[in-house]
Amino acid sequence: MNRVEEKLFENRYRVDEGRAHIRIKEPDVCRDECETPSCTWACPAGCYSLGDDGSVTLSTDGCLECGTCRLLCNEHFNVEWSYPRGGYGVLYKFG
């Protein structure tokens, strides 16, 4: 288990199964066109992982809803970003 997963483990979430609030629009663009996949290191929840072939996969379960990935992807605009449905997502106990 890497460090960020241990951190996320302390948090409370209500996951909206099957309804991810962030989507990679065109996975091919990440793999073939993006030269700086900064989402794979700058997302504070480590939601984006980089494959050996340069592909990027997204898992929103640990998302902290900060919006960083939305701002980072400003060359290809390949991230479709919205807030989770009301009541779902991260539930900060302290904030």
Binding site: A42, P44, T68, R70, L72, P84, G87, V90, Y92, F94
Partner: protein, 432 residues
């Protein structure tokens, strides 16, 4: 929902709560929408509450609000890799005047504030995300939520939906926020026994310490670290500009881990239990990044409008003040029987200009640019100062004049005489 409201407030953070409170107190029919399970569940802050802005609407708030510790000591640390040079200011604990800054836990504060808002007569609906604005021509006439039949109409909409400002952006009222204007901060809540905190930080009873950290901890990125004492926990975090995380290829959680391992920080949180890890954006673009904040039937307050004074680490007070000024403008227009048009709501913008909010933001308008282009302030100088302190304080038989010359030589070697002079001018320009 067929019911119609005088005003809809999007968001139940400090800004939205203040706006809703002021309008409800003035007898307006207010609906407040919050996407979280409860107010505070989506909100993150360091957190320091500047109580003056809250007292402007709830005068006796100190006695009721869930405040953690009154801050009596401010430490500023310039960090080298394994050492720091710092300054402390410690106020008198028995001073007659009341403290103006308190640490808070946002989930607790927001819940308390929200209760006040509801007692004042506003209707709060949680677990409801506003997705866009309803418009008739240019006039905003309500909001669309993610609920079934979720359109709700009102005469005016107050957008206090936080830093991402998605609603206004999607509705074309403002340009999208930019990675260069926004910082990403990550934070952990470290729990320790109350007595341990008081002993470690040398603070009595209800008093607290804040430590702001600059320098090599951010690896040349524009940013700061912080450590705040709460009653039974310590908040530890670090934030840097989003653009910098991209170019430096650094992970925010890795940066936080390294900060926690710094020899100046590590003993302060030793033995703690971490109970939460959070991340949040902070709009730090300053004056030049403020979007249009009013139009036909709408106003923007708080983080959503970019109202943060990054230099002084102030945000929640700007949020509450902008929320109050927006609400007071709306109440005044209602009293005068005037419509919520862009030209009438311009009064909000004027009130902002007259307040400390815009005055402070204007004062520091060049700071983001200057820091962005001059990384030596975050890397070279902390290192030089730390080495200078080390040299001066090392007693090794070398005379003091030789030591002074050695320090001078190091500064000149690193920055050159012209460079040192230029840096001094830049700092003066940025902060004057």
């Amino acid at each position: 929902m067929a019911e119609r409201f005088d005003a809809i407030v999007v968001g139940a953070g400090p800004s939205g709560n203040t706006a809703a409170y002021v309008m409800a107190k003035a007898g307006m029919k207010v609906l407040q929408l919050e996407r979280g399970e409860y107010p505070g569940s989506k909100n993150v802050q360091g957190a320091i509450l500047y109580v003056d802005a809250l007292e402007a609407v709830i005068p006796n708030c100190r006695k009721q609000a869930p405040l953690e510790r009154a801050i009596i000591e401010q430490r500023m640390w310039l960090m080298d890799d394994r050492s720091h040079v710092g300054s402390h200011y410690r106020g008198a604990t028995d001073a007659d005047e009341q403290p103006t800054r308190y640490t808070v836990i946002r989930a607790n504060l927001d819940k308390w504030f929200s209760k006040k808002v509801q007692e004042a007569g506003a209707l709060l609906i949680c677990e409801t995300t506003v997705v866009e604005l309803l418009k008739e021509g240019k006039q905003v006439v309500g909001v669309r939520t993610d609920r079934a039949n979720g359109d709700i109409r009102a005469d005016v909409v107050v957008l206090a939906d936080g830093v991402n400002s998605l609603v206004a952006t999607k509705s074309g009222l403002r340009p999208p926020i930019q990675a260069k204007d926004v910082a990403l901060a990550v934070k952990e809540m470290h729990f320790l026994p109350k007595a341990t905190i008081e002993e470690r930080f040398n603070i009595p009873g209800e008093h607290g310490v804040v430590i702001e950290m600059f320098g090599k901890i951010t690896k040349g990125m524009v940013g700061t670290g912080f450590l705040y004492t709460n009653k039974e926990s310590v908040s530890v975090g670090v934030g840097c500009m989003v653009d910098d995380f991209r170019s430096a290829r650094v992970s925010p959680y890795q940066l936080l881990e390294e900060l926690k391992q710094h020899p100046s920080v590590k003993p302060l949180i030793a033995g703690s239990e971490v109970k939460e890890y959070s991340a949040h954006l902070i709009p730090e673009g300053g004056y030049n990044a403020i979007p249009p904040v009013h139009g036909d039937g709408w106003v923007i307050c708080g983080d959503s409008g970019g109202f943060v004074n990054a230099v002084h680490r102030e945000g929640s007070n700007l949020a509450m003040t902008t929320g109050r000024l927006a609400a007071e403008t709306i109440v005044a227009l209602r009293d005068e029987g005037k419509a919520y048009t862009a030209s009438n709501l311009k009064r909000y913008r004027k009130a902002l200009e007259k307040s400390f909010v815009m005055k402070d933001l204007r004062k520091y308008r060049d700071v983001p640019e200057i820091l962005h282009g001059n990384r030596q302030f975050l890397t070279t100088y902390p290192e030089l100062l730390s080495r200078a302190a080390h040299t001066l304080l090392t007693v090794d038989g070398v005379d003091k004049l030789t030591k002074e010359k050695q320090i001078q030589r190091e500064f000149v070697q690193k920055r050159s005489r012209v460079g040192l002079f230029g840096d001094a001018i830049k700092l003066m320009r940025a902060f004057r």
